[in-house]
Subunit: 244 residues, 2 copies
Amino acid sequence: MRTYKLTIAYDGTAYQGWQRQANTENTLQGTLERTISSVAGYPVEIDGSGRTDAGVHANGQTATVVLSGRVEDEFFTEKINSRLPEDIRILDAELVRNGFHARKSAVGKKYIYQLDLAEKPDVFTRRYTYHFPQRLDLDAMRKAAQLLIGTYEFAGYTDKKDEKSTKRTIYAIMICGQGSKVSIQYEGTGFLYHMVRILTGTLLEVGTGARSIESVKEPLKSKDRSQAGFLAPARGLFLDEVYY
Amino acid sequence: MRTYKLTIAYDGTAYQGWQRQANTENTLQGTLERTISSVAGYPVEIDGSGRTDAGVHANGQTATVVLSGRVEDEFFTEKINSRLPEDIRILDAELVRNGFHARKSAVGKKYIYQLDLAEKPDVFTRRYTYHFPQRLDLDAMRKAAQLLIGTYEFAGYTDKKDEKSTKRTIYAIMICGQGSKVSIQYEGTGFLYHMVRILTGTLLEVGTGARSIESVKEPLKSKDRSQAGFLAPARGLFLDEVYY
């Protein structure tokens, strides 16, 4: 029995999210499991570092898979890749100790949210960017982002009601602008359901002046989702890296 | 009666090429004509600067359209754009003299072909790049490109048998490499059916050492298509600009 850690990139546009579902074949986990199982010759399950929503992308999602024995280096990066749809690629496969788990062993994650503020949407980046044709005060957004860094109960920044714990630590939020392109990088211990997209929507409301810098603290105190901002669309979001 | 010159960007992935066809709705010309006609309230025809093949993209295709009268500036860039699929955008509309014709008035064109030489295909650029995981001798390709610059009969570099004239002038071929990304820019008076893609396939064969630098002259002399290189895939090709 051998455990492999996979690093996976995908264009999430065509998928109903990461998690395997009974009613559709069109999930990332399901597609990877079917492909690996068919080559291995026995059913395998893969465990992701977390679920990404429908339409969310990954530069470096991670997943663990347990095989019956050792495989050559090219098993994943050539054999499996050649059978996967071209919007999913296994970038790297690494033999790890048994018991290593992509989600439970993770200590942190980095997400990137990509925006385009240009007047007209760009036909070539539209699948990977949220087109938001407004003026943004990036300095105000950076000040608001500083108020979100630290360890808090993020219950007001998620759309899931029944999380066991909503305590998370955000280490850094970096907002970079280059011409009309803006990216927001988030690093933290982990992120709740919709959390990065709601944080992004809230920061965008600060950027347009629709809300004050200080107001981003309110959902942390009240734990009230309605005090946070709108849910930014999935297409701009990338799971960039998972830390172990 | 007013003539407008449109500058159009499109992601050609989902289309059966530029030219309107009786058996499919899924062409760029057809989609633009249906959309503009439905807003104008009468049937309009648009004339492109040329046809792009199925799967070829454009940063700056041009087309002319004749309307019954003058329209506000936003007619095309807002009204029409808001009704077009999101993989087609009218970037600019300009009132021109009647008689101006996107194809007949054009004096030159620029195409760009994008390649990725990385070992693994990139899931985010795969729609817009030809994945060609080989080592290329860019210097040899540049030398071969120099031999193609000038005015020649390019009958050996097209897949269409019955062109009235195959004489064209290539002004420049620029080959730029940055990491694993390589782009080839072509500028000339005009290009025959498949010509840019065959030129690209031929230059790639020079780059891998499969053929000599000098051999790119052969199809110019013999006018024999079989002496030119392979047809590079549509997905890497962009009609970048049309000159008037």
